[in-house]
Symmetry: C2
DNA sequence: CCGGGAGGGTGAAACGATTTAACGCAGGTT
DNA sequence: AACCTGCGTTAAATCGTTTCACCCTCCCGG
């Protein structure tokens, strides 16, 4: 119950505090007999290092910060998991912050992280201007941008090629013979939304099709509810599309649900392609074709970068890692031979 | 760039370090003129408190730990969000740990949190024996059990009445006229799994039915894949159940998917009830009946408790908060008008 | 017998904040 | 004139580690 310090351990083991510290940090320099004695004392007293004191003296913190846009989105959850995995392997704690796409909350969290003197910060910035990010850097923290490409050579970034992903999706749909494609997309202030749309346009162009085969339908947020709304709009039309490409899987799931409930067959009547390949995509009533991003890998890579940067700040080269997305084709977009197949 | 300490600020503002500290912590005791001067210096130098030093001296940390079973499960994600919200309002950081249902990982994380001298720990323990929890308490940390009821008067707990939830679900199924119910459940080492099953049994008993109407099918984990496996097993049987109650929504989604793909109509042939009421439950192809738990509220309450406990340890009364679950009936379990049929 | 490693330890300074006792000072009471 | 009383501020002690310069002892070669 009473807090036990390194000094208590020293007394108990009849050595000096310096020796205890050595046992803890450089066991090889202390004689086996002494080492065992100290270890024994640590065990008996239930001593736990005080990381605050440790950090204060050594200057090297053991936590990293993670600021995401929305912990509720499985995409970020998986990224977080990747971060958590490598961080804990390296003995680091992860401080999770949820900016909820609010610059104000982001700023508050960044402030907190600065006070905690975290090892580094992994952040998906709310704004494109990166104001918060630069303040962090001025304070000498290493920052890795998550899922937000940049040309700034002063920091690391880990992202996925969203433009290529958009192209993959639409190229696939065109190849399957779909000709009236609607892209359900988020607001263009969101970087990913813009890029994915550009990729979709690229696909149309490269396929030599008329640009009228692709239409963009914007929705306010990238979540299930927005997808449902979008699908309702599409259903109300006289000329329905034959395929829908959604900017993320949450949208796609919303669209899918509304279509299925309205008796529209997927993919016979309307095909759907999502983005992110979250676990729920494969588990949907009609398994969803989706553009897979290496979510955990993004997290792991980012964590490794930030740890590497702070371990060897001198020789560190800032990297911009760009992963390639991958199309996972499932039933929701496969051209089927027999258009009808009904359950009893 | 160079780390600026409270001493630098003091020099700059021509006061002593003590005064700067007062400005920071008890602004009212220092004369307005001096205060402004100090504030100015802080601003100019871009000073940020070093929380490690702060904590070392004052002994009051500004972070709380959160250990969950699975960050990938939207249930925990929502709880985490609640925790994060109230913690950040109170100026606390949240250290997120994912035990992945492994006692070993849990132990490692708990160790890390102990070293960080966190304010308190919110934990959903992996094991029922609470070994890890007791070690924390021995070290003088306040602990709040999350979603894990206990009779231990020595700690706070926030949970939902799982037994009542199980009873709600099965009572509903029985009332709708289902008579061969399978509960797809997790391993009984998981507390929630046991409780929900007991509740289910209660429901059968209270309804005066024969206990044979309810069967338990155990699966190794509470996730989508396990649900799929379970559904495959059920499909292979000669006598299929007419309703399935799943210990959580991930299982239910897995079951739903396999059933629908096999041409089984939900709920006409087999009804499904899930647990947790995650957002994806409502958005499933067949909207899922589920037992709702106040997820964010659980998180908020737990965070408040742990903060309160450490603020005023003396007068703190350990509380066991037990929320009531609520049944949300959707299409997956509504008895439709049609003649009753017996299995082949 | 002396100088010099090497191996194994020691002890105090330092890290950056908080906290507390003490102090100087102005004004008001006896 | 002596004595409080508050207020604003200061200086010093303190928190638990790490680090670094230094001290023994023992042993070996010259």
């Amino acid at each position: 119950m009473a807090p036990v310090s390194i000094r208590d351990v020293a007394t108990r083991a009849k050595v000096s505090v310096g020796t205890v510290s050595n046992v803890l940090n450089r066991p090889e320099v202390v004689a086996p007999a002494t080492r065992d004695r100290v270890m024994g004392a640590i065990e008996e007293l239930g001593f736990v290092r005080n990381d605050a004191a440790r950090q204060l003296r050594s200057g090297t913190p053991r936590a990293i910060g993670l600021v995401v846009l929305d912990v509720g989105n499985p995409f970020f959850t998986d990224v977080a998991r990747g971060v958590e995995d490598t961080a804990s392997e390296a003995g680091h704690a992860v401080i999770l912050c949820n900016s909820d796409e609010s610059a104000q909350r982001e700023a508050r969290h960044v402030e907190l992280l600065a006070e905690q003197r975290v090892h580094g910060v992994l952040i998906t910035p709310v704004d494109t201007d990166l104001a918060a990010v630069h303040r962090l850097r001025e304070r000498g923290m290493s920052v890795v941008l998550l899922d937000h490409p940049t040309t700034d050579p002063g920091l690391c970034a880990v992202a996925v090629d969203d433009r290529a992903g958009g192209e993959l999706a639409v190229t696939h749909l065109l190849a399957e013979g779909y000709e009236r494609i609607v892209m359900v997309n988020g607001p263009s202030r969101i970087h990913q939304a813009r890029q994915r749309h550009e990729g979709a346009v690229d696909a149309v162009r490269k396929a030599g099709r008329d640009e009228s085969v692709l239409e963009e339908l914007k929705v306010p947020a990238l979540n299930v509810v927005s997808g449902q709304r979008a699908a309702e709009q599409l259903l109300a039309r006289s000329a329905r599309p034959d395929a829908v490409f959604c900017a993320n899987d949450l949208l796609a799931l919303g669209v899918l649900q509304v279509l299925v409930r309205a008796g529209v067959r997927v993919p016979e009547d309307i095909a759907i392609v999502g983005y992110d390949d979250i676990d729920f995509a494969a588990a949907a009533a009609v398994p969803l074709t989706s553009v897979r991003q290496p979510r955990q890998l993004i997290g792991r890579t980012a964590a490794e970068l930030v740890i590497a940067e702070t371990m060897t700040p001198a020789e560190h080269e800032h990297k911009h890692v760009l992963f390639a997305p991958e199309l996972v084709v499932r039933e929701s977009s496969r051209r089927v031979q027999r258009p009808r197949r009904r359950a009893r």
